[in-house]
Amino acid sequence: MSAIRNIISATTIEEVQAAVSMIGPPLLARGGGTKPALSQADGVGTLDLSGLRGISEYDPGEYTFTAYAGTPLAVVRHALAEHGQYLPFDPPLADAGATLGGTIAAGVSGAGRMRYGGVRDFLIGVRFVDGQGRLVRGGGKVVKNAAGFDLPKLMTGSLGRLGVLVEVSFKVFPAPAAYATVAATLPTMAEAARMVQQLAAAPVDWEALDIAPAPKGATLWARLGGLKQALPPRVARVQELLEDSRLLTPAEDEALWRRINALDFGNAADMLVKAALTARDIPALDAALAAAGAVRHYSAAGNLAWIAWPGSAHDLDRLLAGQRLPGLTLRGAAAFPLVGRRPAAAFLQPVKQTLDPAGRFPAFEQDAD
């Protein structure tokens, strides 16, 4: 364990336990540092986990793996791809160096979550160090497990405030052999939102269904994945559903989804915020965001919004709260990362008190008093 100013680096589970057990300012774990609003805050020490890395178990025949929390997504992606497997929820910021632990703690999934679900649906086991320095395990290493409280779910989106994830287990799926993306232009965002809702109700196995405002109206991208020989007729059918659409080349397809995975929206100075919503919320939200000059992108048939927000955290908090939508700041100045509608304190507070009674990690919210 080494400490430079306010940064402590831990490369073993014991070092994480030691760091949490020390007396000092509250700590926030940092993996790749790609979501700085979740790993930095005033008066908070950094627990750098980038050295706690490596895949500890991977048997391709089992379609599960276990790795240390600081393992970069890119490393995992590469190891899985060698066996034709993937993490179907398309964890964001993979190229920028995001880690497994940070992805879980932030509770973020990418456009590919459309197909089979998000990070919560693929995480099967966790080991974490709670605020009392205890090493706690929840879930397991098999794909189905109903024993005990579902701590992997609790730790998904725990924002570094309930414990430090040290080792995690996932189930994985066979990766599609090939992809194809159709892009279409629609006159307005409201129509694009209606269209993704309609498409999502069709019996088509969408890999992704994204929309974003375009200079004139809106663009819709529909991605299919599967056996190569089956793609052409499937694409033809999608093009029948979508007037005025174009099939992207394989290179365009690849570049497009990499860019979306990189969450490369807006300017570096903007806040980057995720919001959860449904397609029905889009017309009102998008209009309000547009009026404020924000850049928007919506994934998973309108269930996931990425907002590059040029204004203050306070204003965005008010805007989202007004529409009863919950949001999470990944980048940009934010004393507390949750914005908009907040989780149920009557349930979360006792959980926080139990796992972190002495406040070794920051609070979820500004104290009421």
Partner: protein, 480 residues
């Protein structure tokens, strides 16, 4: 006002059961070896009545057990002797079904299959399909994170619950999640699912509905040995196909299913494997061609494709009716629910076979092979002295096998009261302490489903010493 008087003012006599004859049906669930008589059963008809009842229990320190249809196989809905049962079957309304948003908001007493029936006119369905789906409730499914035959591709109940409104054991009403597929912040909805009733009672559940798959292909293959069927599962999984279901039944289970529902399984087969592919027509056709190639290499005696919906329904009738069919072979049975890594299915099944011979107790196997989720049915006669004990001992050995193989004691039926004693084999003392503390933080008096899931707290146990000290609650002191 006493607790009894308060209940009387809340419920008309017809919905407040206290006579022994009225209580009898609630004394047990599908784990029939155990029974216990509650002091009363209430039949609320609205969320408000449930909330009011929980508040009364909290005020008077009376433990309660929520109950759906009582099909728990692990004693989850077993009553507490000095407590009450809150039976939720009358809260059976689908409050809202929104085909555009593809969600259904339901009360907890809604029967699983009724959600799919209601969604069918819109081309939608509710994916989790426990074999008990014609009777079990969504509330019970949520409490146990129930599974079914199609978890391989679609996951468990938790993967299909978007939001929950619940009453905590202290009477507080909370709303978790919402209508979006994406959670934000700690996934409290997912954390509530599978909590076996210990965090309180789910009052309204928002479910995700899926478009009905356009094409379904169901294949039934028969094998001369259980091991060969197990190897076939490994081959299908390794091929990169992702079937919706991969199910195995052994000889005893096949015979039972044939006798009871005449499912048309090949007679004399040592094992049958059911493989189901579903999805877009274009994809399924291509995948099916691949599946046929793979199946040809697995040494099946016969491979049959369900030609139409009726043939498919018949195959599934045999599979889903297997528990009750096997049940007819024996006066009593225990169903186990262990999970092993898929690569260890073969050796585990062979060990179960040996154990069955050693104990001289028949074991039928019907299981979710694609998930490594075993369901050995241990057949015994409770009237013969010592048989129940021997059956339980055998069940314990099977669970130990699963734990030693790196698996779990339960894949979908929950720990309940039945498998509590095995929790320390799976989790460290610290893991269990943390689970217990989480429970006490939400329910210091252990009012909600006392005596389930967590080892050590007996249903009769006094709860006085379990109150956290006020300083403990503030995090100033902690127990060692």
């Amino acid at each position: 006002m006493s607790f009894s008087t308060a209940l009387e003012s809340l419920y008309p006599p017809a919905r407040l059961l206290r006579e022994p004859a009225q209580l009898a049906p609630y004394e047990s669930d599908a784990l029939t070896a155990f029974r216990s008589r509650p002091r009363a059963v209430v039949l609320p008809e609205s969320s408000d009545e449930v909330i009011e009842t929980v508040r009364l229990c909290h005020l008077h320190d009376v433990p309660f057990v929520a109950r759906g249809s009582g099909t728990s196989l692990s004693g989850g809905s077993l009553p507490i002797a000095d407590g009450i049962v809150i039976a939720l079957n009358r809260l059976n309304r689908i409050l809202r079904l929104d085909p555009d948003a593809r969600i259904a908001v339901v009360e907890p007493g809604v029967v699983n299959l009724h959600v799919t029936h209601a969604a069918a006119p819109y081309g939608l369905y509710y994916a989790p399909d426990p074999s008990s789906q014609p009777i079990c409730t969504i509330g019970g499914n949520v409490a146990f994170n129930s599974g079914g035959a199609h978890c391989l591709k679609y996951g468990m109940t938790a993967n299909h619950v978007l939001g929950i409104k619940a009453v905590l054991p202290n009477g507080a009403v909370i709303e978790l999640g919402g209508e979006s597929l994406e959670p934000v912040g700690p996934d409290l909805t997912g954390f509530f699912v599978g909590s076996e009733g210990l965090f309180g009672i789910a009052l309204e559940i928002t479910l995700r509905l899926l478009p009905r798959p356009e094409q379904v292909r169901t294949v039934l293959a028969s094998y001369h040995s259980l091991a060969a069927a197990g190897d076939a599962v490994a081959a299908v999984v390794a091929s990169g196909l992702l079937p919706a279901a991969l199910e195995i039944m052994d000889k005893l289970a096949i015979e039972a299913a044939e006798m009871s529902v005449n499912a048309g399984y090949p007679r004399g087969a040592a094992a049958v494997l059911i493989v189901e592919l579903e999805g877009e027509a274009g994809s399924v056709d291509a995948e099916f061609a691949r599946l046929q190639q793979v199946m040809e290499q697995t040494g099946a005696d016969e491979v049959r494709l369900a030609e139409d919906d009726a043939a498919r329904a018949r195959i599934w009738k045999g599979r889903k009716g297997a528990f009750s069919a096997v049940g007819r072979l024996s006066p009593d049975y225990i169903v186990q629910d262990g999970v092993v890594p898929r690569s260890r299915l073969g050796e585990t099944l062979a060990r179960i076979d040996e154990l069955s011979a050693t104990y001289d107790i028949r074991v039928a196997n019907v299981f979710h092979a694609g998930d490594g989720n075993l369901h050995p049915l241990i057949l015994y006669d409770g009237r013969k002295p010592g048989e129940l004990e021997r059956a339980e001992e055998l069940a314990g050995e099977i669970l130990t096998l699963c734990i030693d193989a790196g698996g779990s004691i339960t894949g979908e039926h929950g720990v309940g009261m039945e498998k509590r004693a095995y929790m320390p084999r799976m989790f460290t003392p610290v893991d269990l302490d943390v689970m217990r503390e989480l429970r006490w933080a939400v329910d210091p008096d252990e009012l909600a489903n006392r005596g389930k899931m967590l080892p050590g707290d007996s249903p009769e146990g006094s709860s006085a010493s379990r109150h956290p000290h006020p300083l403990e609650r503030q995090g100033i002191i902690s127990r060692v």
